[in-house]
């Protein structure tokens, strides 16, 4: 049943390819039904998910390439259940924005659905080969989507993004192959590898080397500090729904894979690098925060802010305690939803005004109350205001990683203040103040189709802000089982 999650978008994508070009109106309908179906399916899985049952649920396994021990094996535990939910939310919200694209809609929706299906693949697969296969498949649609439908210097952004992530992925492939080689019994089955390594771990130096490879490889997409510079450029160049999907979900694949491969299989290696990782993420938080303050373009600002937030996630993972890693997973979820909402707002305004400078607007509060209210709520969630799940996640990360690195947590708390500075400045210049007459033809989000993405995303943030136990009861046992 679980493979449907991956295959519905792929089938829909080919359906879109086959629809003749004169039936243009059918395209958005197919795309939206596909995303809605996967969303309902994920909710179904969430409903039937029993958190107290250890191990993976809804497990299926199809022998695929026996000579190398490769099998299409998919299953859900607390962590990837949360991330599937995140992806379901963001892709559903994103498809509404994607459907409004004017230029070459057919190809755009085709690439969009391939991207959605590949991400589901990454989050459900439990076989190293397929995990890597889907991870790299997301690159195919990204390049043309950013390259063709992007905005300012889109070729540069598309090339940087694709090359950087491929370089990282290549390093990670080297790590995976070494891992496959070192385990000795020739299988890519993640479950068996993890169990085997739990009771017969590698030698220390092997673990360190492998963990380093995985960390750098997947650190690129997780925008670990020195490797982060592709993400603001990529997001600023990407069209709205791509930056929603990329900042919202693709960026979370990095830490997820680090958790799944490095933390679960190479605990000693991770422990070895944890201080360095913590320091790098600390620098990342402050560095990206300050860089965001000096940005004049909204998308660049949100790009840097998501780099800074990923710093919190990596800080949580570096501390390797149950509380901090659960906080990291919850922050992955909440930051994903928040970033998607933020980009949706900026995209909505950009579609009508083709301007996205922080100081270009003014007084949108009067002209477009719904949009400015969602923009304010998204920024409040981003700066960690209680009532949104971001606060709970950051709180858990702080509590969890306090005794490991109090100084860094202190810096991270300072980072929260810096986030408040640039976000409130943006809110003030965009929503408050006198109305800039240049944009008086700007229309607010009126139809339910335009309002639905924001209600969906911000509603999810509020729901899990008031009731974090809804997600934590899934995440915590899974993290507990994973950590030594």
């Amino acid at each position: 049943m679980i493979f449907l999650l991956t295959w519905i978008p792929f089938v829909a994508a080919f359906l879109i390819l086959l629809t003749p070009s004169e039936k243009k109106s059918a395209l958005p309908i197919i795309a939206k039904t596909a995303c809605l179906l996967t969303f309902l399916l994920t909710i179904g899985f969430l409903w039937r998910f029993r958190p107290d049952q250890p191990g993976y649920q809804f497990l299926i396994r199809i022998e695929w390439f026996p000579a190398f021990g490769i099998a299409y094996q998919a299953g859900l535990d607390g962590i990837n259940m949360t991330l599937c939910l995140l992806h379901a939310l963001v892709s559903l919200a994103g498809v509404f924005t994607a459907a409004r694209e004017k230029k070459r809609l057919k190809e755009y929706l085709f690439f969009y659905l391939i991207l959605v299906g590949a991400i589901y693949g990454v989050f459900t697969c439990l076989d190293l080969f397929f995990l890597y296969l889907f991870y790299e498949t997301t690159l195919i649609p990204l390049y043309p989507m950013i390259g063709i439908w992007g905005s300012k210097n889109k070729e540069y952004g598309a090339m940087q993004l694709t090359l950087f992530i491929t370089a990282g992925a290549a390093l990670a492939l080297f790590g995976i192959l070494l891992l496959y080689q070192k385990t000795g019994f020739g299988t890519f089955d993640l479950i068996r590898i993890t169990e085997h390594l739990k009771n017969a771990p590698f030698a220390a130096h092997d673990q360190n080397f492998l963990a380093a490879l995985i960390l750098i490889g997947f650190g690129v997409i997780a925008s670990l500090w020195p490797l982060h510079s592709w993400s603001p450029i990529g997001y600023a160049a990407a069209p709205t729904s791509v930056s929603m999907l990329h900042a919202g979900v693709l960026k979370k694949m990095g830490p997820y894979l680090i958790l799944r491969i490095a933390l679960a299989c190479l605990p000693a290696g991770m422990a070895h690098w944890s201080t360095l990782l913590a320091v790098l993420s600390g620098i990342g938080i402050l560095y990206a925060g300050y860089a965001a303050i000096s940005q004049k373009d909204l998308k660049f600002m949100v790009g840097f802010s998501s780099v800074s937030h990923m710093g919190y996630v990596l800080l949580g993972i570096a501390a390797m305690t149950v509380t901090s890693v659960s906080g990291a997973v919850l922050l992955m979820f909440s930051h994903g939803v928040m970033a998607a909402a933020m980009f949706a707002v900026i995209g909505f305004i950009y579609e009508q005004t083709h301007a996205r400078g922080v100081f270009d607007f003014g007084g949108l509060g009067k002209k477009a109350p719904f949009i400015s209210m969602s923009f304010i709520m998204a920024s409040l969630a981003s700066l960690g205001l209680p009532g949104f799940s971001n606060f709970v996640a950051e709180l858990l990360i702080f509590i969890g990683s306090w005794e490991k690195s109090p100084v860094l947590v202190g810096l991270a708390v300072l980072g929260v203040l810096i986030t408040a500075i640039y976000l409130l400045r943006a809110v003030q210049h965009v929503c408050y103040g006198e109305f800039n007459p240049k944009w008086n033809q700007l229309k607010d989000a009126v139809t339910w189709q335009e309002k639905f993405p924001f209600v969906l995303l911000l509603g999810a943030l509020l729901l899990f802000g008031f009731w974090p136990q809804g997600l934590l009861r899934l995440i915590q046992p899974a993290v507990g089982a994973m950590l030594p």
Binding site: F68, P144, E155, A170, L173
Partner: protein, 474 residues
């Protein structure tokens, strides 16, 4: 000496003779379509015969001609490649009109004949003769477009360097004959066994191997490739990059793992270095290329490097990975050159900028070029990725970590120049917006190639089984 073993060769020779007679009878005004029909039936018969012979190994002519599953695999490989190249050359030459295409098909068929013999040769003489038939026909093919100066220049270059390589090979064979007293593989093996440390044997082996490395364009011997790929007509480049390279590797495998087995230690030293240097040279060379054929020349050198990793690694995993990689490389290259032959006359130039806006002019061609290029780049879920995956895991299993790392680091660089072509196709606006019509039969074959890439990428185990039983009793 049973004739049935040589059935495919007889069929090939038969079609050749019919072609020649048709040529003599009709003279210059012979219509192309009949030539094509003969060739297509010839290939069909050839494939049928190979299909029957696939599990009845045996040897003929006193053991100098052997037909094992390895040979059958490559013969099918060559005939399929030849079939695709024939069809693409038909589309390539039709708008030109001026050139006489009949001779082109004839010489191409000779090359195929040479390849068929080459793979079943179990004696150095047979090997050399078949090799020469193939390379000589390629000399003519590269210089086929008499009007085009570049084609002639490429032909001359390939002729001079090719003959130099053949000289090295024949010199090596001569030395072997001096030591072993016979050119038959088995007796040479006996000679190796008799005096294992004999310096002369190693020298002759190296000479022969270097000649063959020229064929596959490995590093010290690869300088010819970009110039010849740029000058020669598109179908010839296709056959050169797929057929001739595969033949070279078939010979390398057969010689290294049957005749030159005692030199395993030297192999472990030589081939990893060669592989690494070839990968680096091929990828770096391609980064600044502006001409698509030159770029594909460098990229084919890079892929030779990856194939050489297969040779450098241990026998069981390395060879299977090599053959799988060769399959995926062939599929992608044939698809690319097929598209190039279709668009060559429309775009009039080989510069990458000429492909600007191809996505709008003909979405089908652009999409197939997109998939084929990404498969070459090794991006999953396409076939290229599985090939690279198997090759790299073979290298790692044989503890050649540094070689695997070089292969890994070359992936993003290769993606850069492949994306360069995709960028001009998809991201830039076309210069003149006339849409390119693609004939039905071309769409069919191109579709087959693309589905081949997708299938080999996703359903790996059936394809791997084909490769494995090719190496069964080898």
């Amino acid at each position: 000496m049973n004739f049935s073993l040589l059935l495919p060769e007889w069929i090939a020779l038969g079609t050749l003779l019919i072609l020649i007679f048709r040529e003599i009878l009709n003279g210059p005004k012979s219509r192309n379509s009949s030539g094509i029909a003969i060739l297509l039936t010839g290939t069909a018969l050839l494939l049928l015969s190979l299909f029957f012979l696939r599990n009845s190994p045996g040897s003929a002519f006193g053991g100098t001609f052997v037909l094992d599953s390895f040979a059958v695999f490559f013969k099918i490989f060559f005939s399929l490649a030849a079939f695709v190249v024939l069809v693409s050359s038909r589309f390539f030459f039709r708008p030109l009109g001026g050139e006489k295409t009949a001779e082109f098909f004839l010489i191409l068929w000779c090359a195929l004949l040479g390849m068929l013999f080459l793979v079943s040769a179990n004696d150095f003489l047979i090997l050399f003769i078949a090799l020469e038939i193939m390379t000589l026909s390629f000399y003519i093919l590269t210089a086929y477009q008499k009007g085009n100066l570049a084609s002639i220049e490429a032909g001359v270059k390939y002729l001079i360097l090719g003959s130099l390589a053949s000289a090295f090979i024949i010199y090596g064979i001569g030395l072997l004959y001096v030591v072993a007293g016979s050119t038959h593989f088995d007796s040479i093996q006996a000679a190796f066994a008799a005096q294992p440390g004999h310096k002369l044997l190693l020298l002759s082996a190296l000479l022969i191997l270097s000649g063959l490395c020229f064929k596959v364009a490995a590093v010290p011997f690869q300088l010819w490739a970009p110039d010849v790929y740029e000058g020669a007509p598109v179908p010839v480049v296709a056959f050169l990059s797929v057929g001739s390279k595969a033949a070279g590797f078939a010979l390398l495998i057969r010689l290294i793992f049957t005749v030159f087995t005692p030199f395993d230690h030297e192999r472990k030293i030589l081939f990893p270095v060669l592989a690494a240097m070839t990968i680096i040279y091929g990828n770096l060379g391609a980064v600044v290329q502006k001409n698509i054929k030159r770029l594909l020349g460098f990229s084919s050198i890079a892929h030779t490097g990856y194939l050489l990793i297969g040779l450098a690694a241990a026998r069981d995993s390395g060879l299977a990975a090599l053959l799988y990689y060769l399959l995926t490389y062939a599929l992608a290259n044939l698809a690319i050159f097929f598209v190039l032959s279709l668009t060559a006359n429309e775009l009039k130039s080989d510069q990458i900028d000429a492909f600007r806006g191809l996505a709008e002019r003909s979405p089908f061609l652009a999409a197939s070029l997109f998939i084929a290029l990404l498969s070459l780049a090794g991006v999953p879920p396409l076939a290229g990725f599985v090939g690279k995956f198997l090759i790299l895991s073979a290298a790692i299993r044989d503890h050649l970590m540094w070689l695997a790392l070089i292969g890994i680091l070359a992936i993003p660089i290769s993606l850069y120049y492949y994306l360069g072509v995709i960028r001009s196709m998809y991201l830039e606006e076309p210069v003149h917006t006339a849409s390119i019509t693609v004939p039905g039969s071309a769409k069919l074959i191109l579709g087959l190639l693309i589905t081949g890439i997708l299938l080999a990428g996703f359903f790996q185990s059936p394809v791997f089984r084909i490769v494995e039983n090719a190496l069964q009793h080898f």
